[in-house]
Symmetry: C2
Subunit: 388 residues, 2 copies
């Protein structure tokens, strides 16, 4: 009976074709739109469509967005945004475009530099005192859930440190979650981003910060993932299944906003820091092993999730249900990705295992300490070795 | 695959003792607090406790709140609020105190009279252009869910018409949902308010506006009601069960904010208009009959809810599961209220049946038209007759 809070001021509009409501939404916010977009879309029909939807607005497009958004790009985007005199910001793309737009919004309105606002141990955080611009977030992948979180993850271009700007002001005003935009995402990216969305739902469910609000989001998100991820990976044009994954991604965002990620994200993000593993893949290659190692510490919840994947498990004792989960996930991940991935596939070698463990402990200590079983350095090394 | 939206900017803080966070929350908003409170609390230890929590603040208490808030009382409260120069409003009580505070907030900041802002067919609604005061909503019953809705229900003191101010600006800034405040609520009121909360979850679940967001709230809210309503009515000091009902009430508010109520609220509110039936009671006396009459039109959802009440039903065909629901609810309502209520217990007589039907059609046409089976005037008369 602990306190449970709920807060998400973002208005979420989710459904096929909702992108078409952009002009009405923008009309509330002024006449000058700064568009932050994945460079992939710079000469795309999607950007052309956005331009047409916003044909009555003055537009400035910023496409310097990298998979791990860098503080210097954000500073540059903020300067352009300020000089342009934007009335609002539209972010279009995956998590990196959305996170970049959030940070650009803060720096352009409150001055200073991006890294001033980042949470790093021992460093003061520059306060946000000036009003931010309205941000409309339009995700084009089903994964990050950034459209409804208070987080923006950025990387220091000098030190390569990766950290988070965490503020309630980061919540976008509106999230236009249009599954039609994800139809063209290739199979492997679809699978990896969907695994990220699932991980948000799952990790926040097994973590100690889970509350009755976050659990609702987690369970519903996992249900949608289970129902539709195979269908989407078999047929990317299955819009009903795409719709489910979009919703799963948004629910994952709501779940981590109220609870938080745990060890799979801790190890996964450290792996991405040491190698170039993509975010979803870095989680896919460690989650089954992390669960295996955690089993007795989170049995009832692992069991419940396992039964969501396979109803026939309900006849078994709880311990056996829980123990089935790592294999279920390992096989599913291989199937939907289309190949069996390991940390070695992402270039991790024996001699870099300690580096991954050390980065998990330094940069993602929250994920490590929030996990139902808290890993020591030796534990981490052992888990990572099993993932090679 | 229709569009589903989610919007609730209220920060909800739910748990035993959260009232104690009031001073920290108020500190964000200024130094002068207008307190809108049920008159029942005017000389209560609760109001004394609030005064102590806000001992650093200048306070103005307004207690002219009736079970059906009247527009002239709201106009009076708004004038006092404006004259006092409040920085923020604290609403403490049941739905009527919360709804009064919402309306006082609008009138005090935007001028005119309460009824100017009410939705009535053929009448223009006065626009809200000035910023409202931050509103902190503190419910003392588990029922209305008003702490997280955009609605404020008010009654015209001249015509006795009852209608709604519906605006996104009505969402409180914060909802402090402290189940400890409900411990002293007597058994019958506890049961009736809990039935209202259940009705919000249930009606929004069977209605056509239900979406994946509202369904989550509805299903979780009903789960909590089923788990705890008997316990609370047997032992009002069972704080764990009180906690569940508080959460159920809030989830009901979130559910109707995204979907809406249907025919039980339509008939129930009309009954309250014609007799003096309390809100929860007016719903309790008609919901089983409404479901009975609706059965073939909403079978899968009635069946699912019936199985939530009684797992053993899962072995039966869906039609039988659904058909079991009216009896389950009728028996449960009698048990928790402590007596068998009917419309006749609230003073309804044969000759007033038509008046209830007519009021449902005129004042609550939305509830009628949104129901899975749309009732004609004759249907309504027949349903109401069965409830006598």
């Amino acid at each position: 009976m602990t306190t449970k809070t709920f807060y998400c001021p973002t208005e979420i509009i989710d459904g096929p074709g909702v992108l078409n409501t952009l002009p009405q939404i923008a009309a509330e916010y002024g006449t000058k739109a700064m568009i932050v977009v994945d460079p992939f879309f710079l000469n795309s029909p999607l950007l052309e469509r956005i331009r047409q939807l916003l044909c009555d607005y003055e537009i400035c497009v910023f496409g310097k967005v990298t998979p791990n958004p860098r503080d210097n790009d954000i500073n540059e985007g903020a300067a352009i945004c300020r000089q342009f005199g934007a009335d609002f910001i539209v972010a279009i793309g995956g998590g990196s475009a959305l996170d970049s737009a959030k940070a650009i919004n803060i720096v352009s309105t409150n001055g200073g530099e991006c890294w001033d606002y980042v949470r790093v141990a021992g460093k003061e955080i520059r306060p946000i005192t000036e009003k931010l611009l309205p941000l409309i977030a339009i995700p084009t992948t089903s994964g990050t859930g950034s459209e409804c979180t208070r987080y923006s993850v950025v990387t220091n271009s000098v030190t390569h440190a990766k950290s988070t700007i965490k503020t309630d002001l980061n919540f976008p005003k509106k999230a236009l979650v249009d599954p039609e935009l994800t139809v063209s995402v290739p199979r492997k990216t679809t699978a990896l981003t969907a695994i990220d969305a699932f991980a948000h739902c799952f990790e926040s469910y097994i973590g100690p910060k889970a509350n009755e609000f976050s659990e609702m989001f987690s369970l519903k998100g996992m249900e949608l993932f289970i129902r539709s991820v195979r269908r989407v990976c078999q047929d990317g044009s299955d819009t009903e299944a795409r719709n489910d994954l979009s919703m799963c991604s948004t629910l994952g965002g709501l779940a981590i906003t109220h609870s938080a990620t745990t060890l799979p994200h801790g190890i996964g993000q450290a792996l991405s820091g040491v190698t170039d593993a993509p975010h979803g893949g870095s989680i896919a290659v460690c989650m089954p092993q992390v669960i295996e190692w955690t089993l007795p510490y989170g049995q009832p919840r692992f069991a419940r999730v396992a039964c969501m994947f396979d109803e026939s498990l309900k006849a078994l004792p709880e311990a056996e249900q829980a123990a089935a989960l790592p294999k279920i996930l390992k096989e599913l991940f291989s199937e939907i990705i289309g190949e069996k991935l390991t940390m070695a596939s992402y270039g991790l070698t024996e001699d870099k295992i300690e580096a991954v463990a050390d980065m998990a402990l330094s940069s993602y200590s929250g994920d490590v300490s929030r996990h139902p079983r808290v890993a020591s350095r030796d534990d981490l090394i052992e888990i990572i070795r099993r993932c090679l």
